[in-house]
């Protein structure tokens, strides 16, 4: 691995000049800006997604975005437009599946529908790729992500859409939390649980489409699930958890971008590896903390309910 790394542009043993060198390349500045926007959006939306036990739905929305991007390339439209259109459309389909509104687990019918939808979407993406000859390398970029060639216009799109998604989440955040932790009580108190879940799925679709442009359709989970899951192992307080989730996502994204710039291996690999490493560390730290305090494990929903 090191032998390979040495043949490409390596560190110059001067961190200050290395970092300033990074910022002289416009594509690298754009990648860092886009990565930052995506990390913040994905971490916040992902925190709610993990709490609502909708990781499978999140993965499926990411996968549905792939034929969108492939189809957009086929008809000569920008790939980001395809990502957004299909991810939001997919969110509406998943929302229409009976039972998806609740965060109840083990609903067999829902998982069969989502699984079928996901595999069919990927197959359709493959069809578009097959119809579009000479697109073979593009497949790997769409699926596994690339930070090369992010334009300034794309950064602005990501920024506007990310702000919009976060604003909607900020508006529905409190009732959504209530509806997630105890849907029955929330419904009895007049919270519109069903509507909230549809709105959340659409926001999730938007966040997934955003993250897909950096991480690719298949690696969205690195930013959507892992920072949130790590944060929720450390704290049961919503605001603190959200902040921690964002912090982890930012660190992972920045590290991933910088390290992959200096190495021949793809960014997706570093992004997922760093995020997974932190996730594993959280298990160890949690275990040590619990042993020291001799506390029984507290679940997040139990804490919020009290």
């Amino acid at each position: 691995m090191s032998a390979l790394a040495a043949t490409t542009t390596g560190w110059s043993w001067n961190p200050a000049s290395d970092v300033s060198q990074l910022f002289t390349y416009p594509f690298m500045v754009n990648a860092l800006l886009a990565g930052t926007i995506v990390a913040v959006t994905a971490a916040v939306v992902g925190w709610f997604m993990v709490l609502r036990r909708q990781t499978f739905a999140g993965h499926t929305l990411a996968v549905i975005a792939f034929p969108g991007a492939a189809g957009a390339t086929l008809i000569g439209v920008a790939a980001s437009l395809g990502y957004f259109a299909f991810a939001v459309g997919g969110a509406l389909i998943v929302a229409a599946v009976p039972g998806s509104g609740t965060s109840r687990r083990g609903f067999t019918e829902e998982s069969a529908v989502i699984g079928t939808l996901q595999a069919f979407a990927l197959a359709a993406g493959f069809l578009f790729v097959a119809l579009y000859k000479g697109f073979l390398n593009g497949v790997n970029a769409l699926l596994f992500g690339t930070f090369l060639g992010i334009t300034t216009a794309q950064v602005w799109t990501l920024f506007v859409v990310g702000i919009a998604a976060l604003a909607v989440l900020g508006l529905i955040g409190r009732p959504l939390l209530f509806a997630t932790v105890d849907p029955d009580v929330a419904a009895a108190r007049g919270v519109r649980v069903r509507l909230l879940s549809v709105v959340f799925l659409v926001v999730l679709g938007v966040a997934v489409a955003e993250a897909s442009q950096i991480t690719g359709s298949l690696l969205v989970f690195a930013l959507l699930v892992m920072p949130a899951a790590t944060a929720q192992r450390f704290t049961v307080r919503p605001v603190l958890g959200l902040a921690l989730s964002v912090l982890i996502a930012l660190i992972v994204t920045w590290l991933g971008l910088v390290v992959s710039y200096y190495s021949p291996y793809p960014m997706g690999f570093y992004l997922t590896s760093f995020a997974f490493g932190l996730y594993l560390v959280s298990f160890v730290v949690r275990y040590v903390l619990d042993r020291r305090r001799r506390l029984p494990p507290v679940t997040l929903s139990a804490r919020i309910a009290t």
């Binding site: 998982s111 699984g115 996901q118 595999a119 197959a123 690195a222 793809p266």
Partner: protein, 314 residues
């Protein structure tokens, strides 16, 4: 009439005259059968997400083997079975948490791209289409040995699923009662996941690591919409999967620009939609069945099995 018959006969002769069609159909039939049988239980046990993760593992396993210059079949097999065992060990009651699954398989896919880069940059024999072949499958690219091996392995898996079907149904529908009655629930759960892993390993080169989920979820889901009788459902699930494979292969033969994996998945998806429509129409004509959940027929079956097998308890 006679002319049409000879034309059809000639078409069939040329269709089966291609060795890639014969190999593809031989492997495809048994792969689809195993996927359909395993898929019925995946849907019943709400473990669709687990099989999704195992499909992704298959990709990384194949690419890792290629990167180190090994036979990709070995990598596929080792990776999926090991991760199946790991997932079984991680979860309580052999059913791991979906956040854990999601985190693990995102990282596994990250590793897959890593091995892809090693394979394409450091090995002179590397070719970029290997990645796409394992992600989306190439059923017409199977060699004679590959297809015979896949047929044998998937045949054995199908047989094993049928053999453990009765206790597995019991354990899936009412785990607590099954455990109390001495059914080895945990061992069954592990054995089942290993069978899913083996199926994923065999299905990945043919239908694709990313698409094999559809060949498991769609027939399984369709069968559960159509009937609540467990063994009928199992048979329907296997039949839909095999039919999807055959129709898909013929379609992609007739329309050369259509990849076979897409055709197979499209037929499977259509069968699921059709099953859902049939179930809805039936519910409208028989209002009593309106609020009958999927598991109730199975629970009734378990109840009958209980009362018939040992009248001493209850």
């Amino acid at each position: 009439m006679f002319f049409l018959a000879t034309a059809a006969g000639n078409g069939l002769t040329t269709f089966f005259g291609h060795s890639f069609i014969r190999y593809g159909l031989l492997a495809g039939t048994f792969i689809a059968l195993a996927c359909g049988l395993v898929g019925y239980f995946l849907v019943l046990r709400a473990q669709v997400f687990t099989s999704d993760a195992l499909g992704h593992v298959a990709y990384t396993g194949a690419l890792a083997a290629l990167a180190f210059g090994l036979d990709p079949g070995v990598g596929l097999f080792a990776a999926t079975v090991l991760v199946a065992l790991g997932l079984a060990a991680l979860g309580s009651r052999s059913r791991p948490d979906d956040v854990v699954i999601g985190s693990v398989f995102a990282w596994i896919l990250g590793l897959g791209v890593f091995f892809l880069t090693i394979y394409t940059t450091s090995r002179s024999t590397g070719n970029g289409s290997a990645s796409v072949n394992y992600l989306f499958g190439s059923i017409f690219g199977l060699s004679a040995t590959q297809s015979v091996l896949a047929a044998i392995v998937c045949g054995v898996v199908s047989l094993a699923v049928v053999l453990i079907a009765r206790p597995l149904l019991f354990a899936s529908v009412d785990e607590a009662v099954a455990a109390a009655r001495g059914v080895p629930v945990r061992i069954l759960g592990i054995a089942f996941l290993v069978l899913v892993g083996v199926t994923a390993a065999q299905a990945a080169p043919a239908v694709g690591a990313l698409l094999l989920l559809g060949l498991m979820a769609a027939p399984g889901g369709a069968a559960q919409r159509l009937t609540t009788r467990p063994f009928v459902g199992l048979a329907i699930s296997g039949a839909i999967a095999v039919a999807s494979m055959w129709i898909g292969v013929v379609l992609s033969y007739l329309v050369p620009s259509m990849p076979p994996s897409f055709a197979v998945l499209a037929v499977a998806t259509c069968s699921y939609v059709a099953a859902a429509l049939v179930a809805r129409a039936r519910r409208e004509t028989v209002p009593a069945a309106q609020d009958q959940p999927i598991g109730r027929g199975l629970r009734r079956w378990v109840g009958e099995a209980l009362s018939s097998s040992s009248p001493t308890i209850r």
